[in-house]
Amino acid sequence: MTTVATNQSAHRHSEPPPVPSRGAGAAITTVELGKTYRSRGGPVVALRGLSMEVQRGELFGLLGPNGAGKSTTIGILTTLIRPSSGSAIVAGADVLREPVAVKRRIGVVSQANNLDRELTVAENLEFRGRYFGLRTSAARRRARELLEWDGLAARAEAMVTQLSGGQAKRVAIARALMHTPEVLVLDEPTAGVDPQTRIRLWKTIRELRDTGLTVVVATHLLAEAEDLCDRVAILDHGRLVVCDSVAGLTGRAGGDRVLTVLFDGPVDQIAIPHWVRRAEVDGAQVRASAANTDGLLSELIAAGAALGRGVRDVTTLLPSLESAFLALTDKEYRE
């Protein structure tokens, strides 16, 4: 066990594998992308006119609660789902007209573990390389390089069914890099992994961005998008809520703090201080945002007391993607 750990930490210091050089410009452009699924219960609209751009070399987050349309977007960008309307250009190729060209230029790490269960770790990588036209010897060499870089060389001969969830995800990332893609797409890369593995995966993803690779991460975790990404697009109910840098987004909410106070009964008539930027009263709950919430809590408590209400619970949200989501959609973000 100790030996493996030592090996791994040694390998972790090796450079990420080289990727092709890229110019500036958009790596992904979508225009009015729409998707409607036909189902027995009638049509289900999953995506409504999504237009966005991902720049080359950036680490881009596709953020939204479950059912927001992230997986559909990822499916369309990776040619696995046909859009019902609109268009998408990925790494210079049209997903509908040139799906094979798109596939040559992207690496994809799916949310589910779809490693080839009848093959070993190394074989998973080698055959992926061969599907992309690498000769057997070249595929073997690149597989070895990637497994060493990812700290999985010691597991090369294991069947993938013997891997832990985190290891399987790392193998999937290494496999997606076999054909040196221009764009790496990861769908919920840290779903179902422990916190330690999550931090390690984030580090790996940042390393890849630092090599110049364009990385798109779909996630429903606000913290993941906030800590990891350069820019994010927030989706909700199949619509683009906003697309901006993380810093820009937290600033867009005015850098506000959001104070939520829950009283022990309805407070519809509560007096809100005039200097509060936005406020919303919903039954027993008051939510108010302001650049500085100092003093706001005591004023709200007093205003509630004037109505004969006591305070049950108080939460404060610092300027963040969560407060930005709240400010932009008037809804709480539910992961």
Partner: protein, 263 residues
């Protein structure tokens, strides 16, 4: 473009062969056990206990029948069950869908692999049926028509693998056992495996009814190849059906495959 599609398809076949080689013993047992038992019961046990007296030539009838039914059923089972598994379990199919191949190319690759696998299974069965017999009772088979044999080796597995792809795209995994009982077993029992089609003259409705069964044409075609002296359907008829069914079912299967994969 076309070259790279072929190279990707070839790499996928290499992967299938690699897995098959690793599971070779299992493949041989799975493929050979049933025909071995059929030969044992029909050409040894039954004549020995007096149930089928005078059936010593039965081995000769069984050679084309068992090779045909195993080839057809193996192709259908291999393609349909592997596809259903890949479509359900974490959508493992996405791994292949992301390879630089159009979706129709992936469907063709699955048909070609199913056909190749079924051909190998047919070969195992031929060796079992031909070489396992009572002393001096070797089935009297010889290749009477080489071009027909080659056509059979190409079209029987391809036709059956196309059926497999179609079935795999239509059925849900929970319906497999129903499919086996309702389609696969009747297809074997009524596939002119144990008797030539002409012998069904005595039961006219059945003779007509079995014509929807692809195993019938496979058995009859191989009968024309290996045992031309026994009654068999006219070569032109079986060949036409095999070629037309391969093209027709193949086209339907690829379309259904594309629709199923690209939601």
């Amino acid at each position: 473009m076309r070259m790279s599609i072929l190279r990707t398809g070839a790499a996928m076949l290499a992967r299938e062969l690699h897995v098959l080689r690793r599971n070779l013993l299992q493949f041989a047992v799975n493929t050979g056990m049933q025909p071995l038992l059929a030969v044992f019961v029909f050409t040894y046990v039954l004549p020995k206990i007096g149930v089928m007296r005078g059936a010593q030539g039965f081995g000769t009838i069984l050679v084309p029948g068992l090779v045909a039914s195993t080839t057809v059923l193996t192709a259908i089972a291999v393609v349909s069950t592997s596809l259903m598994r890949e479509l359900s379990f974490g959508r493992a199919i996405e791994d292949r869908m992301l390879a630089p191949l159009p979706v129709w190319g992936l469907g063709v690759q699955k048909i070609v692999w199913g056909a190749l696998h079924a051909f190998l299974a047919g070969l195992v069965v031929f060796l079992v049926v031909y070489f396992v017999h009572e002393p001096g009772m070797r089935p009297s088979v010889h290749v009477a028509n080489w071009p027909l044999l080659v056509s059979c080796l190409v079209f029987i597995p391809l036709m059956a693998a196309s059926v497999g792809l179609l079935v795999g795209t239509i059925l849900e995994p929970s319906q497999v056992s129903v499919f086996i009982n309702l389609a696969m077993i009747p297809a074997t029992m009524l596939g002119c495996v144990y008797f030539p089609w002409a012998a069904l003259r005595a039961i006219p409705w059945l003779q007509v009814g079995v014509l929807i069964n692809p195993v019938v044409y496979a058995s009859e075609a191989l009968r024309a190849v290996f045992t031309p002296d026994l009654p068999h359907m006219p070569v032109a008829v079986v060949l036409s059906v095999l070629v037309a069914a391969t093209a027709g079912v193949g086209w339907l299967a690829i379309r259904s495959f594309q629709r199923r994969l690209l939601g």
